[in-house]
């Protein structure tokens, strides 16, 4: 490790070095560890330990735990299978509209489950999958499909980015040695991709393992995951002890998962060198068409339904209309602000959340890659946990813990973007860490021999190389925040600061075709906004100059 060399450091420099560690560690400690520990202590206090002891003996709990686990595993595997060809397309091929496709695939991320659930039900109905032997409505199949829908972007982006930076000649070498494209992929490229695949898998697994809305809306009323059980105990039944017991089991599973996948990610990463980028080959029609079809079915159909609904008057023989969109600019009588205002609020929160996530996640990535081993591993583990923590646990924990100065933040409106950032950070780290790990050590050594201090080396070598990954992570953070992903429904909010997803819930909470049309229009605008935000963020990185500068 190049950090171990004793260097003559000035005080500011030393302070900066300390900050790199303290900022992410402090952020995690204050906004995650402290709240979660507080709520667990509170929850276990009365009767929780006994409840925890009883859990394994209960058949209903065992079946919920088993279902939670296997649906998450299957969802993860399916998502990776569906998305890998697309990741290849984005990483290794050139075609018109690539940036747009990349941005578009991020869109599902921001859609509220209720909206997506409705869209899926409509798709099933139109395809005749709502009944009969191929029935998907209210089945595990629907849950899996929706999980794929939400998570394809994770693979496309994290694996795609990493893949784009891999030396393509490894695969070519395999081909020259007689390997079929599949063999070359299976035996050479895939092992090289493993850190990125493991990173994506860990994110998706956590996402699906703690799935809540998808399970409730699409799985039918009889399905439950640990997350819905925590909710049921804590919210419907007011039984914090039982909720905490289940949440602890969930947390333990999440920790185990993260430990295991982090280990996978650390295993022999492939050294990347700034590959001389000759132009990428143009995408073959077959590859392009096949991918687009697949993505169109998984991602496109539900989105298409939303689009159609936003443009149609409902009711018998409803014609096309743009009224729903026009209405968004007006003050909808049921909202305290116009829908556009809500979008503005969403953007503001998203910007703050993404900023926080990028800074904290970026620093944490540096610590994970360059820091002392035990520290690096702890932080690597800890930063992932918010993604897998139950929303109830984190939300209640924040309410309970952050109630006194200097941390009297529970009613602050900035707690919402902080909660978003907690979920965004894993995305930043899971894209940045593999990239940093695979930076050719010789580049750093070269810079050092040219007189660059360790900090300078980070800035000059690691920084530019990590920029692209950082941008991808930031884009995800924006999407996470725009979609109000996570524990925020438990935090007190000022309705004047209504965000777009909450406005959407509001519109869908009252009967009436006009409101529903506006909700769909708002969902579509939210998607478009997300796509644009992603395009802008990642477009900025291209101008920023990245790989190959060296």
């Amino acid at each position: 490790m190049d950090t171990d060399r004793p260097a003559v450091t000035s005080l500011p420099r030393r302070l900066a070095a300390v900050g790199v560690v303290v900022v992410p560690a402090g952020f995690l400690a204050v906004f995650f560890v402290y709240p979660v520990v507080t709520i667990i202590v509170e929850g276990l206090g009365s009767d929780g330990l006994r409840r925890l002891g009883e859990l394994p003996g209960r058949a209903s709990f065992r079946s919920v735990a088993w279902f939670t686990l296997w649906q998450a595993v299957v969802s993860t595997v399916l998502t990776i299978l569906v998305a890998l060809p697309g990741a290849h397309l984005l990483a290794r091929r050139r075609f018109r509209g690539k940036a747009l496709l990349r941005a578009a695939t991020t869109v599902p991320f921001v859609l509220p489950t209720v909206v997506v659930g409705g869209a899926f039900l409509a798709v099933f109905e139109r395809l005749g999958l709502d009944d009969g032997p191929m029935r998907l409505t209210r089945t595990v199949g629907a849950i899996l499909l929706a999980h794929v829908f939400f998570n394809v972007a994770v693979v496309l982006r994290t694996v795609g980015t990493f893949w784009g930076d891999l030396d393509p000649r490894s695969g070519e070498q395999a081909r020259v040695l007689g390997a079929t494209p599949w063999q070359a992929f299976r035996w050479v490229t895939l092992p090289a991709l493993r850190p990125a695949v493991a990173a994506a898998a860990s994110i998706i697994f956590l996402f699906c393992f703690t799935s809540f809305g998808v399970v409730l809306v699409l799985g039918g009323p009889a399905r439950a995951t640990l997350e819905t059980e925590v909710w049921r105990h804590a919210v419907s039944r007011g039984d914090l002890a039982s909720a905490t017991a289940v949440a602890l089991v969930q947390l333990a599973a999440v920790v185990a998962t993260v430990v295991a996948t982090n280990r996978l990610q650390r295993r022999r990463t492939v050294t990347q060198r700034p590959v001389r980028r000759t132009s990428l080959p143009r995408a073959g029609i077959g590859l392009l068409a096949g991918n687009l079809c697949l993505l169109a079915v998984v991602l496109g159909l539900p989105v298409f339904v939303l689009l159609e609904r936003s443009l149609r008057r409902s009711g018998a023989g409803g014609g096309w209309t743009v009224d729903h969109y026009a209405a968004l600019a007006d003050r909808v009588s049921l909202l305290p602000t116009s829908a556009l205002g809500a979008l503005g609020n969403s953007l503001l929160f998203a910007a703050v959340a993404a900023g926080l996530a990028t800074i904290v996640g970026g620093l944490a990535s540096l610590v994970v890659v360059h820091g002392r081993r035990c520290f690096a591993r702890t932080l690597d583990l800890g930063m992932m946990l918010p993604l897998g923590a139950s929303a109830v646990t984190l939300g209640f924990g924040m309410l309970l813990a952050l109630d006194e100065p200097p941390l009297d933040l529970r009613s602050s409106r900035w707690l919402v973007p902080v909660a978003h950032a907690l979920v965004g950070i894993p995305f930043v780290m899971r894209t940045v860490v593999p990239t940093l790990r695979s930076v050719d050590q010789r580049l750093r050594e070269a810079a050092a021999t040219l007189g660059a201090s360790p900090a300078r080396v980070r800035r000059e070598v690691d920084g530019p190389l990590a920029m692209r990954a950082l941008a991808v992570g930031a884009a995800f953070s924006v999407a996470v925040s725009l979609g109000e992903f996570g524990a925020t429904s438990f935090l007190p909010r000022n309705p004047d600061r209504l965000t777009a997803p909450l406005a959407l819930f509001r519109l869908l909470g009252v009967p009436g075709d006009a409101l529903r049309g506006q909700a769909m229009a708002l969902a579509v605008v939210l998607m478009a906004l997300t796509a644009v935000a992603v395009l802008v963020i990642e477009g900025g990185r291209n101008r920023g100059g990245v790989k190959g500068d060296w």
Binding site: E172, Q173, R175, G178, V270, P281
Partner: protein
């Protein structure tokens, strides 16, 4: 363009091969033929399209036009892995997640060979490149030369019909490179492979080549057996690539400080082996500018007016020093006209 031997229908052939990157032509019509047992060396400066040509032959680049043949089989539309053409990259591109045996045996395993036969043939291939017993080594513990041998063994173990070598020795030090060059030449001939070897080092080219093709600006400038190509490079570019140093620009009358060397303006080559130094009274009066050694042989640079010429000399030549006056004798057949 010099004629190419496309009429022979044996071995690897390339016809009118063109490749473009984003609209910019990189290869502008290449014709080549290599027979089994023959080593063709592609010589050219960086960026002239040498690597692209190899990649195109291996099926790794999309062709704008052109065909690639093996004997009477058209390989053009055949995917890479079915071409039985080996390719060794300059920086080895070893599979980092596999050990030496895993790398060398890769082709055998994808072809479905049985484990014992893989083991056997891996050992054989390693033996061939002088790395017997290296099977279990991790590839990131290998030195540069060892890595390159492993890369070579990996390609050879696949038993290709032709092998394409993309500056395989480029990253090695000179001593090692020269030794490996000899080993490589011997090995390729022994295996009766059609080999295309890319380099920018003319010494390496002459050491290996049965024939040399000089590539410039996406076209083949000159192709032929080494002596012939060396003696008459044809173009300024080819002359430079081949290591000629005495290129003289002539004025409109075909003159320079050495006198009338051509019919009009242009460039001529003075073949170093047809230049001699004599006493101050012989040939044209010249002044010694510097002396040095090239590949161990003494070379004297002399100036005639504003023209500097390098002349290899015999070891016996008395200790010339800067400022000595000598006579430069230019044999009649020393002057080779070149095209620009």
């Amino acid at each position: 363009m010099t004629a190419s031997a496309v009429d022979d229908r044996r071995g690897l052939r390339v016809e009118d091969l063109r490749v473009a990157f984003e609209g910019k032509a990189v290869l502008k019509g290449i014709d080549l033929a290599v027979e089994p047992g023959e080593v063709l060396v592609l010589l050219g400066p960086s960026g002239c399209g040498k690597s692209t040509l190899l990649r195109a032959v291996a099926g790794l680049e999309q062709l704008t036009t052109g065909r690639v043949w093996w004997d009477d089989d058209d390989l053009t539309d055949l995917p890479t892995h079915l071409r039985q053409v080996g390719l060794v990259f300059q920086d080895h591109v070893l599979f980092g997640h596999r050990d030496v045996a895993g790398n060398v045996g890769f082709a055998l395993r994808v072809a479905g060979a049985s484990a014992p036969s893989v083991t056997h043939r891996v050992a054989e291939a390693l033996e061939m490149v002088g790395l017997a017993g290296f099977e279990g080594r991790r590839v990131d513990t290998l030195s540069g030369g060892e890595s390159q041998r492993v890369a070579l063994a990996r390609s050879l173990a696949a038993a290709p019909r032709a092998i394409l070598l993309d500056e395989p020795l480029g990253s090695l030090d000179r001593v090692l490179r020269e030794r490996l060059t000899d080993e490589l030449g011997a090995l390729l001939r022994r295996l009766d492979l059609a080999a295309v070897h890319v380099t920018h080092d003319h010494d390496e080219a002459f050491a290996l080549a049965d024939r040399i093709a000089v590539l410039g600006d996406g076209r083949i400038d000159r192709i032929g057996v080494p002596d012939e190509v060396w003696a008459d490079p044809g173009s300024v570019h080819a002359a430079r690539c081949l290591g000629h140093e005495n290129l003289l620009a002539l004025d409109v009358r075909g003159c320079c400080a050495l006198g009338q060397l051509g019919a009009g303006s242009g460039t001529v080559l003075l073949r170093a082996d047809r230049l001699f130094l004599g006493g101050a009274t012989e040939g044209t009066a010249a002044v010694v500018v510097s002396t040095t050694r090239r590949s161990g042989r003494p070379v004297v640079t002399v100036a005639v007016g504003d023209v500097e010429v390098r002349v290899p000399v015999e070891e016996a030549m008395p200790g010339l020093v800067m400022g000595d006056e000598v006579g430069l004798v230019v044999a009649e057949d020393a002057v080779i006209p070149l095209t620009d």
